[in-house]
Symmetry: D2
Subunit: 419 residues, 4 copies
């Protein structure tokens, strides 16, 4: 009887190498799967390793374009941010990885998918919720939640022993005292020494951005153009160069931000499973693209649409992405609302990067005229009758006068300071 | 018969000097009023000028302490921000100024208050809504909305001619090509050459912060301590110095931020009256105090309380402050909610300022234990059963499996990429 | 020189008859305009009267179909309700009336439109905001806000005198001690004796619904079918009859509800201009169609989409309709969100009307399978592993255990009752 | 060695009787616990049965007063409602039951608590989340989620066999084809024949309310008085009788509503665990008290406080109660917000009950004057300048005119109907 097939998300590292071997030991046929989401990785070496350990096949799927277009761009279009600070770099990559993995599993006739996520983190949730939506009948093998497995492998040494025993090649480089997740949009650092939230991360931890104190002494200016809320062109090098293809544009934004040390954060966040967790993130290009998008909305987006979108779409889109609910009715609902909100978000933002700081130095739109210089001008009357504002204020004051009168009647005049 | 008294918000500048004289011409007795909200100003010279022009009295009210304690601190405690970027520096000062002005008007028996705000801006709305709540029976004289006045004084030259005619002293300094509003928390720049949103502000415009490119080459570290969401101590100079008194603490934060060029923004915003407007703001200390507060909440605030507060309290508190609705039932309602949310926000944040950039380099709390290193640790099982997460994921997947099944039935498999 | 033309919203009543004549006196040419939104009205008699008074033309525009399809149906699809109770009957009609009036004004080359709304109500705001969005250059003549007009006509007697003087025919029927607004969806009653919020409206006030105590003693059952959230068929008379055309369907729902006295409310509401106002409304068919829609969503709408739509779309759609902001970017944004939310709202609701009460007695959907009897069944295990819920609960309890521990440490055990 | 003690929530029915015996079989000492939340029950007979089966003790705790005061009253004060229809009757009782059970468990030194909830419902979640917050170290024994237990007892017959074998007395009454949960506020019916959402519940199912078609032919009027949003007096019987004590007031409201058949609903709702479920509920008094509270807020609550409370507090308070998160930081946060919102909610509502329908027939407040008859009056000008509204409208139209102009430029005139 042929073996049951499992498709394992493989990284080439110690954990998933041991898991791969463990799945084989358990009697499965294993298909290794790697997604190229733009991380720095020797995919071919990893593939070779997977096959050497015993995977019957190893897929390397390039999902960078869909990652940028389907995930990063909508996130920019709604200014997605989690808990006021985190730009969701890890969360954004999970849906495209899960989708490619399920596609491989389906092609290979796998009954299950497997991954090496720990049992306390967000990623297990994000991957598995995506798996179940993508293929409701799929089984998931999560060794780090299986007591047999995690009681056997209680630490790195147990894994090293197992690797030695099974002839699994182990890289000679010393493991870093934190764990990382990298993709085209960001790199995250957590666990290990970072678990003490008062430990300042060592400068050599940061991988994707220059140390701001060592970044160039001259600011660099560039221009980002938006159409319907999406970045469509980035002009740089004094306007001499420009890119328009989404992945290239993103990589160019990354290159500028990295050089100038833009996009580092260090936070304590709330995981979906209810634990708090300290994470350090560097998100070079996305930080700038998002900030430029926030700026252009000031010029071209209607006030009330913006307010509704901010309260509602942005908050919830970030939350559901963070929690791994990308493949869900509510994400489709929210994404329709993003699209609807961005009809007029057409314009260009002149930007500056300098020693860790991003700033906007100007913006314009050729097509949207919500901002009207002469009308807003304090020096011109224009079409506007200043006395109209008297009526506007009077009507808005009706409620407030009642409030003031009531306070007075109650002997709590608002004029008296609270002290 | 004695004249009717008017209390005029006086600044010493050309506009309010002419308005003062104009009120006298109109047959009123005028009481000049100035509020010290921490702006750089020669109050005594302005007072002398007001009396010279003909004010019967001139009050200078120091409202800095209540400005910091009653307005800036609650804004920090709820991370107040308008349209994702603006920290509300001008809006925050208006309530304490209006309250002090009404108190003077009441003491002097004035039937009306007056101000020199233009007819297109937010400040007229903010001042007058506050006046009407504070004393519902008060009358407001707003010359820049009175056609008689604004048709007579169509530009600066008309005011200069009037000043010359009436013997009003005019400062010899050339007027700046923008207008400013300064207080302890910020300085704003708008109008004039800034009305073109694509004009980069000249470097010499910025008054409160160093040019980041000329800021010190060495980062400066300091620590902010919070109790119930409010800053209670700032330690600096390598821990050798510290301040605790609110105004002093705020001024010290300002001094650090100014030196390192932290807190400049340049935006297009939506005014309450429906116009868009370009504003440049520098908000040195408040930018850092707010960012540190956001950070400490990550460590000590419950996830759900934070999410509710973010969606609701923060958004609406910023909006009503911006719109001038401080003295209102809804502000009281929201402020109760701020207080309720901050019960556990006790802890300390280690901060760094460097060439325009503020960053957090660590944080801790002696009393709040929501964050638990060993529990969050990926390396320890602790009290937590990883297999519980399997159930958590399964239950959360119930809805999503239905969604996936429906898509499949409809021939729109989620696995197929949208392209 | 030819006279300037004004298009007046004319009702045939005393007020707009006097206004019509007044416009002529002021030297304008007046075009009378009436919209048929389903109110009981002798349009031809009113037209004759308008022409007799001196209107150069009188348009009667039938906007019932667009009223039902473009306004009432989206309101049903998002369960629109204002302040928990009011179904917005008046607000819903204003956009189609204003649009038809502007279309007539444009066709006739009118420089202005006019109406007879009072100066304290919502309708002036609704009409004029619509006018300005529909044709930004239009002028509005609102006599009841013009001091010359309202100081001349201080009460009904002044109008009667003017009518007598000008030969305007006055109906001999005694004016009712309240004012009414009727359309296909509802009738409103306010002002006059209703201004005392503690006066119970007299039974003979209600026009569109039977007195529940006199309604039939037998309940009446019927079935409403929905597609994409819109009512597409109403089956009644024991299934022997059915209607599908929107206006007919609406009128049939009205007929059933009227007969059984369904749809009366009596409330105090908050007007856009900040005053409170007492209103009595009867909204027969819409009350039932909305309630049936709420019900079918229970069966076929995803929980999270529903929750987001409830918090956001429903609340704000009702608010902007109430405030007269139909022709606005935010209404378009919200309406896209309604459409997006209703993709799966397909199903049928069995309903009952009886003596003022509407109830649901069953529902089903042939196409949507979110509800799964065997899965929800307490008697079957099915695909569901009950022990999964243990994990679900444990993970959800992580935060709560911390909360409980903290309370205990602080000596405020949650177990001790607050008393 | 002494046995470990378990405190079991006991009902006297077949399920919990078998579970009680099962716990004994498993080697535990069992303490039976019953909460009196106002359900109709022979507590003494049940106690006798528990002791007979082998419980070492049986506690009957009367928690009616705290149920009404701590749960039902805040729910009224914020108009709590889940998914537009459900008044949360079951959810409201769970926190007081769980708290009393933990108090007994602590008093008796139990290491665990146990219950008879099924593994697919909301109640297991509500009880256990409460248990874990109340005593984070408590263990929970949930037999219906234990495969050993539920595989042994696959249906009612297995339980009956076990009862026979163990000598557990079984009531001779035939089990109803649905399950019920009753308390002072409501009775719920679900499962069994009700699982088909298109089956109309049989008339004899409803226990707490009269069949509306058989209710009295004469309406009954009564008056509910509120202080700070809470019902403080109910006057009835033509004003001849009144009650003020919370439990009595609640029971009196129940009695009136029951007599007139008020408070039945039949819905499909979304459970916390992601399944849809059909439930029928009768909530007599609470339906009327909540509706009267909604009404009095119209008269005395500020518009903006109401809008914020509706969007935020009401929605989330209902959601967290439904999901069993009563003992949580977010509930404390929301409850502070309820209290803050209700400061001015003082007034009285005249009500009517008739054949299933509740209506308001008038309301007044002796202390709150937000509603001002003469000011709202269409017939009086009063303090209000109607021309102010012109300015109010003009300023609000600024944005809309831009919107209209843009549409026109794009050739999509708003005047053209969409058809």
């Amino acid at each position: 009887m042929s073996k049951q097939k499992v498709c394992l998300a493989y990284s080439g590292g110690l954990d998933t190498s041991c898991i791969l071997r463990y799945l084989l030991d358990e009697g499965y046929e294993a298909i290794a799967f790697m997604a190229d989401v733009g991380q720095e990785e020797d995919f071919e070496a990893a593939k070779e390793k997977a096959l050497k350990i015993g995977a019957s096949k190893c897929y390397i799927e390039d999902v960078r374009k869909e990652f940028v277009e389907e995930l990063c761009f909508p996130a920019i279009a709604c200014n997605a941010i989690y808990e006021n600070t985190y730009l969701l770099g890890t969360s954004l990559a999970r849906p495209v990885i899960a989708r490619a993995q399920i596609a491989v599993a389906q092609k290979e006739g796998c009954f299950a998918v497997s991954h090496g996520c720990t049992g306390k983190g967000n990623d297990q949730v994000r991957f598995e919720l995506a798996f179940y939506a993508l293929q409701p009948s799929i089984k998931v093998i999560a060794p780090w939640r299986d007591p047999v497995f995690y009681n056997r492998f209680k630490g790195r040494n147990d894994l090293l022993d197992y690797a030695a025993e099974k002839g699994i090649p182990v890289s000679s480089t010393k493991s870093k005292p934190w764990s990382m997740d990298e993709n085209l949009a960001h790199c995250s650092y957590e666990a290990g020494i970072l678990e003490d939230p008062n430990i300042t991360p060592p400068e050599d931890m940061w991988k994707l951005t220059a140390d701001p104190t060592k970044a160039p002494d001259a600011p660099e200016d560039f221009t980002i153009h938006f159409q319907k809320g999406l970045p469509v062109k980035l002009e740089y090098d004094g306007g001499k160069k420009s890119v328009t293809e989404p992945v290239e544009l993103f990589l160019t934004a990354n290159a500028i931000a990295r050089k100038h040390g833009v996009g580092r954060i260090d936070i304590v966040e709330n995981r979906f499973i209810g634990l708090k967790s300290r994470g350090c993130y560097e998100t070079p290009g996305l930080t700038m693209l998002r900030a430029a998008h926030v700026d252009i909305e000031g010029l071209v987006l209607d006030r009330e649409v913006r307010a509704l979108r901010d309260q509602f779409t942005t908050f919830h889109y970030a939350k559901i992405l963070y929690n791994g609910l990308y493949f869900s009715p509510e994400r489709e609902f929210l994404e329709d609302s993003i699209t609807s909100s961005q009809k007029t978000v057409n314009g260009s933002v002149r930007c500056r990067a300098y020693k860790g700081m991003f700033s906007v130095i100007g913006r314009w739109s050729d097509t949207e005229k919500l901002y009207d210089e002469s009308e807003s001008s304090m020096d011109e009357i224009g079409d506007f009758a200043p006395q109209d504002t008297t009526g506007f204020i009077s009507v808005n004051a009706i409620r407030l006068k009642k409030f003031g009168n009531k306070k007075e009647e109650e002997g709590q005049s608002l004029v008296t300071r609270s002290a």
